[in-house]
């Protein structure tokens, strides 16, 4: 399956992916309208070291610990391999958050949890973090 991969060599640490992700989540047309004055909660986060930057989001593991640990079946792996959250079924036990080795799942402001779903519920195409990366550091490809 196509996944989001990050090439650390080209990541500039500009954090645009975080804002593009937050923008995608709002479903709005204008980024300024969508994000002005808001605290953002992106599903991709750039980790910065001294001279190193690396964006981290859900790896969409073939054997996902989060799905295994989910006690209500709210997290599932769809036919394409994308791990999605059904917020209706989530009971906020946060076991998935504890079990994800990448720290890619976080509590959501709207209740339940939030994680990268490869924009299948939002932009329906190339994930917004990939489309907006200025240096091709984030790619969406089959590996």
């Amino acid at each position: 399956m196509k996944r989001v991969y990050v090439n650390e060599k080209w990541c500039l640490g500009c954090h645009l992916c975080e804002y593009n992700c937050a923008f995608a989540q709002t479903g709005k047309e204008d980024m300024a309208l969508a994000l002005k004055g808001k605290q953002i909660h992106p599903n991709i986060r750039v980790e910065d070291g001294d001279n190193i930057h690396f964006a981290v989001n859900c790896r969409h593991c073939d054997e996902p610990l989060c799905v295994k640990s989910c006690i209500t079946g709210a997290l599932s792996r769809d036919e394409n391999g994308v791990i999605t959250i059904d917020k209706e079924h989530c009971i906020h036990c946060y076991t998935c958050i504890l079990s994800c080795p990448y720290g890619a799942i976080v509590p959501s402001e709207e209740g339940a949890i939030q994680k990268c779903e490869l924009c299948i519920k939002t932009t329906q195409g190339t994930p917004r973090c990939v489309a907006g990366c200025p240096n091709n550091a984030i790619v969406f490809e089959e590996r």
Binding site: H15, L16, E18, Y19, F23, A32, L35, G132, N136, A137
Partner: protein
């Protein structure tokens, strides 16, 4: 801090309704113009540091930023411009030679913009390049004057070494050191994909780029940096740099701070030592001396590679070119006064040299008059800005054009002319690793390929419109050119008629 004599030339305008405080501008500005103020709860800018490179503007996701020229003004004075006054202030505070980058920006005439092209109507059919074959391939090097045959009538090959290009454009010399590793990789990969050549400049050839040797012109300049046998053997051609359009008569100086790691190894000089290219070649004081170097290089490479001699366009350029043609060089490269540079003394850049259009026309005429035009190819550079400039240069007698600034623009350069500060926000004219990585060659080389592919289409369109289907038929074809708004003398030098004639 004392008295601030110089008011910042640009203002950063931030649309507060659109700014979402993502701080991309802050993270991307190597000049540290932007910062987030916790106290004010918004982004602030110190425009005195702004060089107007547009990195922040280009990356701002909500288009909240723009840079405008300040309307702060001196009392109007047609003689003492604000620029002239500020340069005095700057020199009064530093005592130094003013430095500038990229090409001469002063408002001298641009002859390319005063030349118009012809097109076919009624009596000679134009050609549709999308339906009929069009040839933009060129060969650079000495051309045989006559065909020789053996006693059976078969043509005897008498090929001198040539460069074959898919279109009449090459990337001009920009050294590794003056531009970044990633900029070099972009140029090298684009040259290979396009079937043209790029030029190492006087910085040696990084070991990673030997694989692009078949598309590489290596330079031998007055400092001889990075020159060794593998360097010469790898290349497709060797260029002896006598001068550069941006700073004729002046050498180069890459400060020791930039001679680090790979740059030091590639130039074959110790880390931290200044790389000083002398103004003259210390072994060349005459055409005879030049001939010795041309033949030394030919001898060293088994007479398999054409040798280019590059000069700046100066007052007696046609006489100099005539000498070069007789020195054994295969190609003469002429660089006009608009040519770019990573650093030059401002007074030299803005006041020395002549326009490439005039230099080209007079060199072509002189070599034809002397019957030695076919002994050399002519390559011209020094602000070729578009396919139309390439086209006009070919019609004025050039075989091919060098582009430097245009190539850097394709890579993202915004002509802020601050290369000499070494903090290029676009990852081009810098060696700072965090800035160099901003230019991903995967993106860069494609942009170069796109630009030149577009130019090639345009050249074919213009040729087709004239009913010409081969670039060879355009070469020196001044009948296809007309001048507009020029004096008799200018038209005479260019060898073209006025529009309407």
């Amino acid at each position: 801090m004392g008295i601030a004599y110089i008011y910042p030339p640009y203002e950063v305008v931030r649309n507060k309704d659109r700014c979402i405080g993502c701080r991309v501008c802050e993270r991307q500005c190597a000049n540290e113009v932007h910062h987030y103020s916790e106290e004010a709860g918004c982004m602030m800018a110190d425009e005195s540091k702004c060089v107007n490179c547009h990195r922040c503007v280009s990356l701002c996701p909500t288009r909240a930023l723009k840079i405008v020229k300040t309307d702060h003004t001196f009392k109007e004075n047609a003689n003492w411009s604000g620029k002239a006054i500020q340069e005095i202030y700057r020199q009064a505070s530093t005592g130094g030679v003013l430095l500038s980058s990229m090409g001469n920006p002063e408002p001298y005439p641009i002859y390319f913009d005063k030349i118009l092209l012809n097109a076919s109507q009624v009596t000679n059919p134009s050609i549709d390049p999308l339906r009929e074959p069009m040839e933009t391939r060129v060969f650079l090097g000495k051309k045989p004057k006559q065909i020789k045959r053996d006693k059976n009538g078969n043509i005897l090959p008498q090929n001198t070494p040539h460069l074959e290009l898919s279109m009449p454009v090459m990337f001009s010399a920009m050294s590794y050191g003056s531009i970044s590793y990633n900029a070099h990789e972009s140029l090298a990969r684009a040259a290979r994909e396009l079937g043209i050549y790029y030029n190492t400049g006087e910085g040696g050839l990084h070991e990673d780029f030997y694989q692009y040797g078949a598309n590489t012109i290596v330079q031998v300049a007055s400092g001889r940096f990075g020159v060794h046998s593998d360097y010469l053997d790898t290349a497709a051609a060797i260029e002896i740099k006598m001068g550069q359009g941006a700073k004729p008569g002046i050498g180069g100086h890459l400060p020791g701070t930039k001679i680090v790691g790979d740059v030091s190894r590639t130039r074959m000089i110790p880390e931290g030592s200044d790389a000083i290219s002398p103004a003259p070649h210390h072994d060349i004081y005459s055409i005879e001396d030049l001939r010795q170097l041309v033949y030394s290089l030919k001898e060293a490479t088994n007479y398999e590679k054409p040798v280019i001699v590059k000069i700046a366009a100066v007052h007696n350029v046609s006489a100099i070119a005539s000498g070069i043609a007789r020195s054994g060089a295969d190609i003469i490269a002429i660089d006009g006064y608009r040519g770019g540079t990573g650093a030059a003394p401002t007074r030299i850049r803005d006041n020395v040299g002549i326009p490439i259009e005039l230099a080209l026309a007079s060199v072509d005429k002189r070599l034809r008059d002397e019957g030695i035009r076919d002994d050399v190819s002519i390559v011209v550079g020094g602000s070729i800005r578009s396919s139309a400039d390439v086209f006009k240069a070919i019609a004025l007698g050039a075989d091919c054009c060098y582009i430097g600034t245009a190539a850097l623009l394709a890579l993202g350069c915004h002509l802020c002319r601050s290369c000499h500060e070494g903090k290029c926000n676009w990852g081009i004219a810098t060696q700072r690793p965090d800035l160099v990585k901003r230019l991903n060659p995967d993106i860069g080389y494609k942009r170069l390929v796109n630009m030149l592919t577009a130019w090639n289409h345009e050249i074919k369109e213009m040729m087709g419109g004239m009913g010409i289907n081969s670039i060879e038929s355009l070469k020196g074809n001044r009948l296809m050119l007309r001048g507009i708004g020029m004096t008799e003398k200018e038209l005479e030098i260019l060898g073209i008629k006025h529009a309407g004639e």
